[in-house]
């Protein structure tokens, strides 16, 4: 009987490593501009571009994880943390992934944080509650989160970011840019933009950028303040309205009242026919500032 007990203990001890954290250290060849798909539920995903034509994954798989799927090669590589069926208590997995710098990234997580740097291909990133951070020179970004914060520091990249309550910060963007949230703030700072659409319900909007010729800038909020900072020499048609907020304009004329029955304010003026700036607000204030 004692032998049986010892055997059971030994078997349990042997099973422990499989139930606990597992170290990962794998690599495989990949095209320099291929697609890398990554998914992880909880923990973190950190992706760094490098000059080798291979994808390398290191890190740890959380307790209870079934396995790491690391497959593909050539034009498409898949890195996926696989959980067991009906898993309820699984620890997060932390992955450090190196990819060819020109890779196109597609990353999905639930609560895992996403960090990307030195990748020059397109990046599409989605998380439910994890934060998303991109630094470097992606050719285009597309980021989506429910409650996680999104911060893109992209050198002259166009793209879009969307959240529900998480704050969205876009730095160094250029070209066509879209950002929206329900209650999260939107902060955009860039070089020369050609098309910008910013929309929130209660979040604050702030933009500081130069407008390309014929650029179109639209900002809409219901109750969040909107702050637009542009070069003093900007040439644009401005049209700003707010129902019950105030309009402050550093470029020229003051707003006028538009409605006999409501407190509406409107401001339309031009500093030169080129770009077009449209701001609509309901109860928030609007500030037009010179850089």
């Amino acid at each position: 009987m004692r032998k049986l007990g010892c055997l059971a203990l030994a078997m349990a001890a042997a099973a422990l490593p499989a139930m606990g954290q597992q170290k990962v250290d794998q690599k495989r060849p990949a095209a320099r501009d291929g697609v890398v798909e990554i998914s992880n539920v909880a923990g973190s995903v950190s992706v760094t571009g490098w000059d080798r034509e291979e994808v390398a994954v290191t890190g740890t798989l959380g307790r209870g994880t079934e396995r790491l799927e690391f497959s593909g090669g050539g034009g498409k590589t898949i890195v996926k943390v696989v959980l067991p069926h009906n898993a309820h208590h699984v620890d997060g997995s932390d992955l450090e992934i190196h990819v060819p710098a020109g890779s196109q990234l597609e990353i999905e997580t639930v609560s895992a944080e996403i960090a990307v740097q030195k990748v020059s291909g397109k990046v599409r990133l989605e998380s439910v509650s994890g934060s998303i951070a991109v630094a470097g020179e992606p050719s285009r970004f597309d980021a989506k989160s429910v409650s996680g914060e999104i911060e893109i520091s992209a050198a002259n990249a166009p793209g879009r970011a969307k959240s529900v309550s998480g704050a969205v910060t876009l730095k160094g963007v250029a070209g066509a840019v879209e950002a929206s949230s329900v209650s999260g703030s939107l902060r955009v700072a860039g070089g020369e933009v050609t098309s910008v659409e910013l929309e929130t319900t209660s979040g604050k909007i702030s933009l500081d950028a130069a407008l390309g010729r014929d650029a179109r800038l639209e900002a809409k909020s219901v109750s969040g303040d909107v702050e637009i900072t542009l070069p003093a020499s900007v040439a644009a048609d401005f049209h700003v309205t707010t129902f019950s907020g105030d309009i402050s304009n550093a470029f020229g004329p003051a707003a006028r009242r538009t409605s006999e029955y409501g407190p509406g304010r409107e401001l339309s003026f031009s500093t030169g026919v080129a770009a077009r700036v449209m701001v609509k607000n309901f109860s928030g204030d609007v500030f037009l500032r010179k850089r």
């Binding site: 999905e108 439910v128 309550s165 209650s183 319900t201 309205t241 029955y261 509406g264 607000n281």
Partner: protein, 226 residues
């Protein structure tokens, strides 16, 4: 009459509200201007689509009954997303995609996108200050509101069905933001009642409708445990 003048008159033209002499002038310009003809065609097309919409939208009866029956019985659909392997989860995104989203949301989205497009036509370069040119008067806001309400109701049913498969934190965020949107909608509707002539408010209201539909669509597509 130049393009700028014609763009100012397009809404009245398609509404049939333009005096005969002005109508003839616009027609002469349209005959020689492809760009303005395109704007006119887009506007007429949009109005035709909106005019053909029903006041309320119900998905095909049998389809919706099937969806609801499955929701109520707790039967699920197989899901394989974000590395969780194949599993049975409460009915969620697939049901939405199958019955609700296709029937209702795409319609609402089409309307809202269409209205945005109209706004852009109205705000095309060369057009003067757009205070009076946000949305053609002939598009009935009430019609869009009815469509939005139908879509919202159905997507809220999807949210209810997914309640057990989403994390409490996510649910809290979603519900909190739905309350923010509902509050904004109520405030704007009250403002429109006080100031029915304000032509900016409908555009803002529609933007908020779109945000709510977007949010509910996103929830329908969230992974389990998200």
């Amino acid at each position: 009459m130049n393009c700028r003048d014609v763009h100012e008159l397009l809404d009245d033209l398609v509404d049939g509200a333009l005096p005969e002499d002005r109508r003839r002038e616009v027609a002469r310009h349209l005959a020689g201007c492809a760009e303005c003809r395109t704007s006119e065609a887009q506007l007429r097309s949009l109005l035709a689509r909106v005019g053909a919409l029903p006041r309320t939208i119900a998905p095909p009866h049998d389809q919706w009954q099937g969806v609801m029956a499955r929701i109520m019985s707790g039967r699920g659909v197989e899901e394989n997303r974000a590395g969780r392997g194949s599993r049975w989860v409460p009915l969620g995104a697939a049901a939405a995609a199958a019955a609700v989203l296709i029937v209702a949301v795409s319609l609402v989205t089409a309307i809202l996108v269409g209205r945005e497009r109209v706004s852009r036509v109205a705000l095309a370069p060369g057009r003067p200050a757009p205070a009076s040119a946000v949305v053609p008067a002939s598009i009935e806001l009430a019609q869009v509101q009815a469509t939005y309400t139908a879509a919202r109701t159905q997507l809220l049913a999807v949210l209810e069905a997914r309640r057990g498969s989403l994390s409490p934190k996510t649910l809290e965020v979603v519900e909190q933001n739905l309350r923010i949107i509902d509050g904004a909608v109520a405030e704007m509707q009250a403002a429109m009642a006080r100031d029915p002539g304000n032509r900016e408010l409908p555009a803002l209201l529609l933007a908020v409708y779109k945000q709510e539909i977007d949010l509910l669509q996103s929830v329908a597509q969230l992974p389990a445990r998200g």
